[in-house]
C-alpha cells in the first residue's frame, strides 16, 4: 500500500496545491483515501497527520471508504428543485433502498448529493459514473438505477 501510495503522490510534492493534486491522483488510482494512506501522505508532504486529515475531510470529493462499482450523484440545488429534483431524489433513493452517502451491501452503487452540475436549464440533473445527465424523468431514472444496481451486484 505505502509504496503504491507514494508512487501516486510523490510527483506533486513542491507544486502549488500539491496536496490536493495528490489526493485527486490517489483517489483516481485507488478509488478512495484509505486511513493507512494518511501517515504516508503526511510524511511525503512534510505535514502532520492532523493537517492531512483536515484537508481530506474538508472536501466532499474525497472518499474515506471504497465506493460501489457505480457512482450516482443527484443535484440538490435550487434550479433542479424547481423542476422536480426532490421527486427525482426521493424516487431514486427509494428504488435503491439507500440514503445519501450510502453504498449497498453488494457494493454495486454509491449514491450521493451534489450541488449544481451547470445543467440548471436542463434539470433535473444527475451524474452517473462521471457522465452528466439532464432532463431526467424520475420514474425512468429510478428504473435505470435499479438495473445498474442489479448489474453491479453480479
Amino acid at each position: 500500500m505505502s509504496s503504491a501510495t507514494e508512487a501516486l503522490i510523490t510527483p506533486f510534492v513542491g507544486q502549488t496545491g500539491g496536496l490536493l493534486r495528490a489526493l485527486h491522483a490517489l483517489q483516481a488510482g485507488v478509488g478512495y483515501i484509505d486511513a493507512s494512506a494518511i501517515p504516508v501522505i503526511a510524511d511525503v508532504f512534510n505535514l502532520t497527520k492532523a493537517e492531512v486529515k483536515g484537508v481530506v475531510s474538508f472536501y466532499s470529493d474525497f472518499r474515506r471508504a471504497p465506493a460501489g462499482k457505480h457512482s450516482i450523484k443527484i443535484c440538490q440545488a435550487e434550479a433542479c428543485q424547481a423542476v422536480g429534483g426532490r421527486s427525482l431524489t426521493d424516487k431514486a433513493l427509494r428504488a435503491l433502498d439507500l440514503s445519501f452517502g450510502e453504498t449497498d451491501s453488494a457494493g454495486a452503487v454509491t449514491i450521493e448529493p451534489v450541488y449544481c452540475l451547470g445543467l440548471c436549464a436542463s434539470g433535473p440533473a444527475a451524474m452517473v459514473d462521471g457522465k452528466l445527465r439532464g432532463r431526467l424523468d424520475p420514474n425512468l431514472f429510478a428504473d435505470e438505477l435499479v438495473q445498474l444496481q442489479k448489474d453491479g451486484a453480479k
Binding site: 500539491g18 489526493l23 435550487e78 428543485q81 440548471c120 436549464a121 445527465r133
Partner: protein, 512 residues
Amino acid sequence: MKVYVPLDTAAVAVGADEVVEAIVAEAEARKVAVEIVRTGSRGMHWLEPLVEIERVGGARVAFGPVSVGDVKALFEADFASDHALAHGDPAEIPYLKGQDRQTFARCGIIDPLSFGAYCKSGGLAGLKRAASIGAVETIDEVMTSGLRGRGGAAFPSGIKWRTVAGAEAEQKYIVCNADEGDSGTFSDRMILEGDPFLLIEGMVIAGLAVGATKGFIYLRSEYPVAQRVLGQALEIAQREGLLGADAGGSGCAFDIELFMGAGAYICGEETSLLESLEGKRGQVRAKPPLPALEGLHGKPTLVHNVISLCAVPSVLANGGSWYHDFGVGRSTGTMPFQLAGNVKCGGLVEVAFGLSLHDLIYKFGGGTRSGKPVKAVQVGGPLGAYIPPSKFDMMMDYETFGKIGAGVGHGGIVVFDEDADLAQQAKYAFDFCAEESCGKCTPCRIGSVRGSEVMAKIISGSDVTENIELLTDLCEVMEDGSLCAMGGMTPVPVLSALKYFPEDFRAVKEGK
C-alpha cells in the same frame, strides 16, 4: 456534408454524443460523406441537442431538439428547411437575434479547439492592442470600460488591476475563479467549453497589464467536459505560443496551470479559493490583507471570475469607451444572464444591462416549462433574493438590485412555478449554508443549523409567530457576525421569502 453538434455539457447530457454516433452510422449506411464539427452551445438549452447543417455557400440550418430516433427521418427528408425540427438560420432565431453577444460572440459557432478558427474570428486582436499600447494604457482601458467583476461582488475591475500593478513583488499571479458554484449559473462552463482561448487571451492580457507571469485556473470538479476542453486548449495555446516565454507575441512571459477543486462551494470565495489552491482546507481568510496585495503564496494576486476575464479581450480590441456604451449608469457592458429552473426557454442570454426581469423571464424565457404561473424567481445564486412577480418590472442592473438589498451576482435567474413552497426554499438556504460553511465563524456554522431547525418548526406549524421572530433575530446575528457572504447573505433568500411570501410560512396554521 458538414454537421455541427455541440460538445457542451448541456447538449451531451441530453444525448448529443449518441446523436453524433447515429449521424455517422446513418451517413455511412447511405454512403454520404459527413464531417462532424463539435462546437460549444449556442445557449438555447431547450433545443439541445441542436444540430446544424452547413449548406452550400456556408449558410447553416439548425434542427433541434434532435434525438437518436430523429436522425433517420432527417436524412430521409434531406435535412429540408421545412422539417418539423428545423429552425432555419440559427442566428435569426429571435432568442439569439435579441441578444448582444460580445463575450459569447463565437460560442456555439466555432470549433473551440481550433486555434485557427479562433484567430480568424477576431481572436488575439485584444492582446495585440494591449501589447502595442503597454501596461499602463491597458489598465486605463479597463478603467474606462467600467467593467465590474462578474463573479458576484461586482467590484470595479480597473481598480483591482491598478492595485496589483502597483504592488512591488518579484512574483505576481493571475487566478481565474472557475468555481461557478451558484445554482442557476452555467456561463463560465459554457465559455470554457465553447471558447476557451478567449479566457486564455484575457488572462495573458491581465498578466501583461499587472506584471504577472503565472496564472492558475481553479475549476470545479463537477465540470468534467470543461476540464477536458480547457486542458486541451492549454496544450494548444502552449504549442501555438499564446502561452510561453513570449506569450502571443506580446514580449511578456505567461503560463497557465489548470487546478481542480474538490467539491466545496465555499472555495468560490476568493480567499478560500486561494487557501485551496495552496493545497489546504478552503477556510476563508480575514481581509485585509487584500488578495491583490497578499494573495497566492502571499504574493500580489489578481483574482477574477471567468466572465470578467473573458470580457477583457473585446474591451482591449474595441476600446474601453466602446464597452462602456453598453448598459446603464454604473452597470456598464453586457451581462450573460442565465435562465434556469422552471423556464420554458432556458439558456444563456447575453444583453446589455438595463433589461427588465420581466423581459428576461417572458420575452426570452417564455414563462415556465410547466405552463403554470410563475410564483418567484431567485436571482444571483443560493445567496440571492427570491423575487415575486409584482417586482418583475425591476431593471436587471447592480444599482436597482442593490436598492432592495439583493444582488445580480453571477447573473443566474432561477424560475419557480406556483408549486414552489418558499418556506421550504428558506429552509434549504440554511441547509445549504450548514453543508457548505467553512466553519470559521459561529454565526454561520451554528446559526445555519439553528435556522434549519427553526424553519422545520415553522413548516410544521408549531409556534409560528414566535419562531418567525426567532428566525429574524437569527438572521440579524448571521448578517452582523459572519466573516464572509456565505453566512452574511444566507439571510437574503430567507428574509426575501418571508417578506414576499408570508403565506407560505403560515401554511399549516391556515389549514392549507
